[in-house]
Point group: C2
Chain length 318, copies 2
């Protein structure tokens, strides 16, 4: 069990944990529903998962990835989907466990996992991850390091403005990438098209409350309307990718989250839209765009990798 | 003259050079008009400026900042305003001079200068620069290092898409930050308002071909219409700043280029628009927004700082 660590992913619906080895393999798992109560209950639930994973009392290193703005001191400043504000998560966990705990934004943790052992393992120095779920999360690895930002609040890539004055985002602003290219946006767009009468009768999308996964399945079965919906979302995704690529010129962009299961009908149009908007596209390399590989495990795997010094700052030696 | 280096700034209209000391002070200057001919003539003109600056034959280190996409090998891939494509600038200069030459994008060079000895000198680790001129240039310093990107093509911040499908940019795409918040955009907006009859008779903006500097001067004199024009441009600038801040969470954003002379009538609205679009704004620090300090010298000073190892990777010891 050399190099193992406990990784925890604190999400809006569940707290998932695992013992993870130095190559990012999940050896054992535990999970509990996220408490709907206050921060104290969430912290207690996290400690419960850690205790269960550390059943042998080995005091394994612990890393925690959590949704929200988390500063460099491991304090959760703000989380849209959890009832905590200004919670000193790292300090609370360290006090209870009596040892150091790495606390990181979940998107950053997932990005680190994809860079070190996942879909961007062949990137030399840089990778971007965009996670399409309820919203759009993300992370940036630049010069072989996870970008945390001056205050630890970097890589809120879903809130880059790509259409000022446009669609309302969950964050309250207008025109964020998240408002156009999240997993939820796929279902919403299908509903919109249906309300406008643009879904042919008998299409698999011609159902009440058509969802993202329904659209993805229909596109996989060759339904042209579903393919068109994913194409439209993909083009918006590509606009965001172009902004990111023009800004930081990464080697690889990996796309994760549930909606990434849609695959090429989503990623093909994203690649094209990005290429069309890259500065000097004809004279430069373009970032590779591909699916993430670690699925729902990315967050906990990344948190575990960040918990050990030898995998927190660079890839482990092969 | 300990720590001195030659810095060259290759622009669309002139090639400006200087001998710069280790604190960024320009000791002597030379400049020639940019040749309208091919790359060979531009390189010859650069060498001419270098030779004049190095009159004592000291073989000072040389750094060159040039407009365009410049890769990690110092090759100019593409420059919108100069007639060169795929020119191995660094190799050509090194062959002629017989010594190493640092070649960098001019926006990156200017950003490095502002971080090391200019408007962001008090930033601990990170700063962003936006240069408002004909277009919008930029640069990123993250974790105390100039971000070059995977292929050296990073920090084309003016081509982040902030209004997909919107105004036509010089690069051919629609909705880039540059199309909304460049120095040229200030004059264009005033012209547009005048054509729509929104400039009151007798206003200093009620003239043919009203330009950015005219607007800035009128705003400085308290003209409300000029202030409104700058406010509109500033708000677009702030949208771009919000995208950048959400993506990389910098400490300071410095605004340079001719249009930055407009000062607070431009930067105040930019700050407000940025703050309104920051993810979790109420729970986080916001980047400081201020004018750059080195003016037109930023590019050549940065190029010179990048030419010496002791000022190329970090600030010099005080």
């Amino acid at each position: 069990m050399g190099g193992a660590a406990i990784g925890i992913d604190v999400g809006g619906t569940k707290i998932a944990g695992g013992v993870v080895d130095g190559h990012g393999r999940v050896l054992t798992r535990e999970q509990v529903p996220s408490p709907v109560g206050d921060a104290e209950e969430i912290v207690a639930a996290i400690l419960d998962v850690i205790t269960r994973l550390d059943a042998d009392g080995e005091a394994l290193p612990v890393g925690v990835g959590a949704a929200g703005l988390i500063d460099l001191d491991g304090q959760v400043r703000y989380a849209p989907n959890l009832s905590w504000r200004d919670v000193p998560l790292r300090a609370l966990l360290e006090r209870s466990l009596g040892r150091a705990v790495a606390v990181e934004n979940d998107g950053n943790a997932a990005t680190w996992a994809e860079f070190v052992v996942g879909g961007a393992i062949d990137a030399r120095k840089s990778a971007v991850m965009l996670t399409l779920g309820t919203g759009v999360g993300g992370g940036l690895v630049l010069e072989e390091r996870l970008l945390r930002g001056a205050h630890g609040l970097g890589a809120e890539l879903g809130h880059m403005v790509i259409a000022e004055g446009g669609r309302r985002c969950n964050c309250g602003n207008l025109g964020c990438l998240e408002a156009y290219a999240s997993g939820n946006a796929i279902g919403s767009l299908a509903v919109e098209w249906r309300e406008r009468g643009e879904i042919p009768d008998g299409s698999p999308l011609d159902v009440d409350g058509v969802s993202g996964p329904t659209v993805a399945r229909a596109a996989a079965d060759g339904d042209p309307t579903a393919t068109a919906v994913l194409g439209e979302i993909g083009r918006w995704l590509g606009v965001g990718m172009a902004s990111i690529a023009n800004a930081v010129d990464p080697e690889i962009i990996v796309v994760g989250g549930g909606a990434s299961a849609a695959g090429e009908p989503l990623l093909g149009p994203a690649r094209e839209a990005m290429a069309a908007r890259l500065m000097g596209a004809a004279y430069r390399q373009q970032p590779g765009v591909r699916r993430a590989e670690l699925g729902a495990d990315a967050g906990l795997v990344g948190a575990a990798l960040l918990a050990r010094p030898e995998t927190a700052g660079a890839r482990p030696p092969q």
